[in-house]
């Protein structure tokens, strides 16, 4: 079942990103919001791991959290706003928030 995984904890203080990457299925999506967008920082193992996920898994990042942290989103991440977040939650069959 295509699932949108939503991460909000920093990948530098929490293991949810690495756990999530192991569990991602083909056709799942991954949305980074809050401190989880720090995974997009250049020259980090976290970004390298994200760049290795298969093309069938789309990576998204919430615009206001990317902007608030002055991060230049890499090409592998699609930056989205709240209306798009709502549309994505309907595009995927389930939304799994990693709390």
């Amino acid at each position: 079942m295509p699932t949108l995984h939503v991460l909000s904890d920093s990948p530098f203080t929490d293991a949810s990103l690495s756990s999530c990457l192991r569990l991602l299925n083909e056709d799942d999506g991954l949305l980074l919001c809050g401190d989880a967008v720090y995974a997009l920082l250049a020259d980090t193992p976290q970004l390298q791991a994200l760049e290795l996920i298969p093309d069938s898994i789309q990576l998204y990042a919430l615009e206001e959290d990317v902007q608030a942290r002055s991060i230049d989103a890499p090409a592998c991440a699609q930056v989205i706003d709240y209306p798009e977040f709502v549309r994505l939650s309907l595009k995927f069959a389930k939304v799994n928030s990693w709390l």
């Binding site: 909000s8 904890d9 919001c33 809050g34 959290d65 209306p83 549309r87 939650s89 309907l90 939304v95």
Partner: protein, 130 residues
Amino acid sequence: MKFAIALFAAPHQPSSRRALRFAQAVIAQGHEIVRLFFYQDGVYNASSAVVSGQDEIDLPSQWREFVDQHQLDGVVCIAAALRRGALNDEEAARYSRTAASVQAPWQLSGLGQLHEANQIADRLICFGGA
């Protein structure tokens, strides 16, 4: 489409604001929110006793306005609320407490309301953490 939204984080945590912005976008697109459920530290978002700094957003009042404006079903987990001192008049009287900080439009109810919301809605979206 029908959404249920569960919030697990206190008003001072960023995910509370994210949940509200998401909920506003859901309504703006013409979808329905069948229930908001505040659980764990999320119950503080229903407290009228929270005072926010003048240069900060007042999430409890923004949530209250949002629920009032759209006539939503705003449910606060009663067990989580009692242990955090977020009582309504009825519970304050029941436990002989001097202060009640949860008023309409919020209702205190059980965790079964979250389960039921998940059955009714097409999507359950949870917000918590950072």
